[in-house]
């Protein structure tokens, strides 16, 4: 069996976490490629429905960061 590669949906706040993810790039920090960022204007914009939608459609993990 191929190694398990989780698909993780990441809701990132535009003002902190998204900027942090950009800075990780500028600093060339290396991390696994499983994260798929979705930019939101505030982590408070993340309706629980989005999280459920992601899991229902087969996401292995959801990260809300803000």
């Amino acid at each position: 069996m191929a190694e398990f590669e989780p698909k993780i949906v990441a809701f990132l706040c535009n003002w902190c976490a998204y900027a942090g993810a950009d800075l990780a790039g500028v600093s060339r920090l290396q991390y696994p490629s499983n994260l798929r960022p979705v930019r939101v204007m505030c982590s408070g914009r993340v309706d629980p429905v989005f999280i459920i939608e992601a899991f229902e459609n087969g996401a292995d993990g959801v990260l809300v960061s803000g």
């Binding site: 990780a24 500028v26 939608e53």
Partner: protein
């Protein structure tokens, strides 16, 4: 080629072609001329052709009306102070080096280790006043103002980073945490985090004679006991000084510098140099920390702008935009522009594969690759493609929308496309740069990010940014030095200003002041200020006026006031509001104040000295921190040390025979004030330290009072019979309970208005269009008040000078048909924007909305949408990503 990394204080190396530091603006490479060997390889290799290798220094003539100088300062270099072992022992570092060691982008990636053996230190000492308050060895007689606070901060962060309980000791003469709320931070470090503060100036740092890398510090305690302590690491809290290049610049410009090479400025002209039209701000004007530097920079902008007000907007060029096309009935035609970013993306991600994949996605009419999508030629090319291909949605797969979204949005607008029909896929910062070792996975991720972006772009519809006019009138609350200076700052820029004062006369607390410590005549300056306010055609003065109602938003406020003894009601429409409500001297309840007429406050003593001199004073005692730095009022009042020293000097100069005793906890003669502290000591003023748990005791006598206190140096109790006891009573913010509630303006525990950001936005308040200055913000001296008032005027001008404000279209909108008025949005909004309107449904003012979308998530009826981030627009990304999964 390798070079020394100067930004990281030489603690590591970098390349000769380098970016100065991760947050540098612009974030672009430069060539270190000193390390470059001149091979020219970089020019040949650069795909963008961005390197002009033979580039030479050029002279350019600029015609300007004003000059603002902010050349900053340099840290004192302690290498000549050989007794500190700096430069000879790796575990002795400067505070600036220690900052880099603590930083995640520093040489040790934020792991707190000492340079000698890269082990985590267990015991760290900070030595204060290295290159400051030291006339003997360095000639820098001033206090650098910032080192106490940064040493406390470094100790706190070091403790946070440490894996075990770290012992942090700060060796100091006085702890000078005099800034707004700084004292609370110091107390936290001392009382909760266990940072040790030791009153001693270390004579020498001696490496321990083994291979441990440790260092021995020997010092006398205040009671004279000799102690030796071994530390793993020693941090030298180096001061600030003016660099040679700045001194040269000042000479070239013909500016007067003071004896420490800081720019000469005046109390009521704190940013004006000796040469009209040239302004100074930041440490060049005198040692100071970030908030004061930001304040002065804005103040200098205000002062520099006033004489140029007539020329405002005369050099502005505006862009002509084509009319926006209606794409609502068009079939989807999405264009995808994939960027190689030189090799930044293309070197990892297979952009060709990504482009081919994009072409296969539904709705995509065009997909292409650029070397640098943001370059001017690529932008022009993009415009042609958008027109030729009749694209009605655009996706750019490149870097971060945080930096480049506005550039591409402009490109859309230039083609007549609504700028919100745009989406980015971040395949550089969040892909190629962070998965450099795995091109296959990075390419797969890029494809999925593009798919998500394409899918979202299909759901986008045009949005229009509202423009609202700006009312050019301003309202200043408070007619003291701060309020008047702010009003004149605005009026001199050409903006009408209404100045309201609750008392009958202008001047505020300054009416009770006579001279500043440098001898400036306060009353003369104050009368001049009042005259200018009264005569300025752009200033409308309303005295005996109170504010009863306030509503609206930036650019369009309405304030209702009651004017004069008749309480005439008036309505003022204005675009900005500046709060300058001031402060008063604390009325002491301690030390027999009010019971014995020999007990005065410093302000009362000044008045007495001005009226009848110091001849009749034989013994004067002054007690510092009365009503400050205690449980009831934890903050430092900043100005009282200099008030005491000012009066002490006055007494000693007029009556050298008089004895003056100052009982203090820390003498906070920060910055250039230190000179006056030195002068007071040389005149024979005696200073005794007392502590909160051993307060001086005052007893009534027949002809005066006696003060009993402990002398920590002699270790004995002393008693002084004095004919004058001056209490250095702290500053208290004016009671603004009613005003703050009408304005909905937040205040600190001690009644000072709260700024939007303590460091970077020191005069703006969290309500846009509202500003604060002077002692309404925090205790401060007249020169600092004047600078802050000008800063507030400057920030307000930045808003007033716009003919209209463009509001972001990313705001929440309520569908009144769905709203059940449940109040959840009202409660959940962090900015208190939603309100229930006359129709009984929630209404969100686009001018006030910050666009976070919390209300949209919380609304149980789904009656609220956040434009550009609607549910379907976010969900489309999740669906696209997971399309192939299930």
């Amino acid at each position: 080629m390798t070079a020394v990394d100067v930004y990281n204080k030489g603690l590591q190396d970098r390349k000769a072609a380098y970016i100065d530091y991760p947050q540098a603006i612009p974030l672009s490479f430069t060539i270190d001329q000193e390390a470059c060997i001149g091979c020219g390889l970089c020019e040949k290799m650069c795909l963008a052709g961005a390197i002009t290798y033979e580039d030479q220094e050029r002279s350019t003539d600029l015609d300007v009306g004003s000059i603002v100088l902010c050349p900053g300062s340099q840290e004192f270099d302690p290498k000549d102070l050989d007794y500190l072992s700096y430069g000879t022992h790796p575990n002795v570092v400067t505070s600036a080096e220690f900052e880099r060691i603590l930083s995640a982008s520093g040489p040790y990636f934020g792991n707190l280790t000492r340079p000698f053996d890269r082990q985590e230190p267990k015991k760290v000492a900070w030595l204060q006043c290295v290159g400051s308050r030291d006339l003997n060895r360095t000639g820098n007689g001033y206090c650098s103002s910032v080192c106490c606070m940064y040493a406390v901060k470094e100790a706190m962060i070091a403790k946070e980073h440490a894996h075990s309980d770290m012992d942090c000791a700060i060796f100091n003469m006085d702890v000078r945490t005099f800034g707004k709320d700084f004292e609370k931070y110091y107390n936290r470090a001392k009382d909760q985090e266990g940072v040790r503060f030791i009153k001693a100036r270390i004579h020498s740092v001696i490496p321990v004679a083994d291979d441990s890398g440790d260092l021995a510090l020997r010092y006398f305690t205040e009671s004279g006991e000799l102690k030796e302590e071994i530390f793993d690491m020693v941090v030298l809290s180096v001061g600030l000084q003016i660099q040679e290049s700045t001194i040269d610049l000042a000479h070239k410009l013909g500016l007067e510098l003071n004896h420490y090479n800081f720019a000469k400025t005046g109390t009521f002209s704190p940013v004006e140099t000796s040469r009209p039209g040239i302004y100074a701000s930041g440490v060049f004007q005198g040692p100071k920390d970030i908030p004061e530097s930001v304040v002065e920079a804005s103040a200098a902008a205000c002062a520099a702008g006033a004489p140029l007000a007539a020329a405002r907007h005369t050099c502005t060029q505006s862009v002509e935009l084509p009319e926006e096309q209606d794409v609502s009935d068009e079939e989807l035609r999405i264009g995808v522009f994939v960027c190689n970013c030189g090799i930044n993306i293309g070197g990892v991600v297979n952009t060709k594969e990504v482009t081919e994949y994009a072409e296969s996605l539904p709705g995509v009419a065009y997909a292409g690759i650029n070397l640098f999508t943001c370059s001017e030629d690529a932008q022009n090319n993009m415009k042609e493609i958008i027109k030729d291909q009749k694209l009605n949605r655009v996706v750019v797969a490149s870097c971060s929308p945080k930096t480049h979204e506005p550039i591409f949005m402009d490109t859309l607008e230039a083609c007549g496309l609504n700028k919100y029909l745009f989406e980015m896929a971040n395949i550089r910062n969040q892909d190629s740069w962070v998965h450099a070792g795995n091109p296959e996975a990075a390419t797969q991720k890029a494809k999925e990010l593009v798919h998500m972006a394409v899918s979202r772009s299909a759901t986008l519809s045009p949005l229009h940014e509202k423009q609202i006019p700006v009312n050019e009138r301003s309202l200043v609350v408070g007619g003291g030095v701060a309020g008047m200076t702010a009003a004149l700052g605005l009026a001199d820029q050409g903006y009408e200003c209404v100045l309201v004062e609750k008392e009958a006369g202008l001047g505020g607390l300054a009416n009770k002041l006579h001279k500043t410590i440098d001898g400036t005549d306060v009353q003369a300056a104050l009368q001049d200020l009042i005259l200018r306010v009264e005569e300025h055609p752009k200033v409308q003065l309303l005295t005996q006026t109170i504010i009863t109602d306030f509503r609206g938003f930036k650019g369009n406020f309405t304030t209702e006031v009651l004017v004069g003894p008749e309480m005439t009601s008036r309505k003022i429409e204005h675009g900005v509001i500046i709060l300058a409500t001031g402060a008063n001297e604390y009325q002491p309840r301690e030390f027999l104040y009010g019971q014995n007429d020999r007990v005065l406050t410093q302000m009362e003593l000044t008045k007495q000295l001005e009226a009848r001199g110091a001849k009749d004073i034989n013994n004067a005692v002054m007690i510092q921190c009365v009503g400050s730095r205690n449980e009831e009022h934890p903050n430092c009042s900043r100005i009282c040390c200099q008030s005491a020293v000012k009066n002490a000097i006055h007494i000693k100069e007029e009556n050298p025979e008089a004895n003056v005793y100052i009982l203090y906890r820390d003498i906070r003669m920060y910055g250039l004030l230190e000179d006056y502290y030195t002068r007071a000591r040389s005149l024979g003023v005696l200073f005794f330290r007392y502590s909160l748990d051993d307060m001086p005791v005052v007893n009534e006598m027949e002809n005066g009072v006696s003060v009993e206190f402990n002398d920590p140096v002699l270790g004995r109790r002393l008693s002084v019979d004095c004919d004058c006891l001056a209490l250095s009573a702290g500053m208290r913010a004016t009671n603004t309970d009613d005003l703050a509630s009408v304005l909905k303006a937040p205040r600190s525990d001690d009644g000072h208005f709260l700024e939007a950001h303590v460091k970077l936005r020191p005069v703006e308040m969290s309500t846009e269009g509202m500003y604060v200055c002077g002692t309404a913000h925090s205790p401060r001296l007249l020169n600092e008040t004047t600078a802050q008032a000008k800063a507030a005027a400057s920030r307000a001008t930045a808003l007033l000078s716009q003919p209209y404000l463009t509001l972001s279209a990313v705001t929440a909108e309520v569908d009144p048909d769905k709203c059940a008025s449940c109040l959840i949005c009202v409660r959940s909004c962090p900015h208190s924007v939603p309100r229930i309107n006359q129709d009984g449904v929630s209404e969100i003012d686009a001018a006030l909305c910050h666009g976070c979308g919390i209300c949209a998530s919380e609304c149980p009826a789904k009656a609220i949408k956040l434009n550009w981030y609607e549910d379907t627009q976010i969900m489309s990304k999740i669906d696209a990503l997971l399309e192939e999964v299930v």
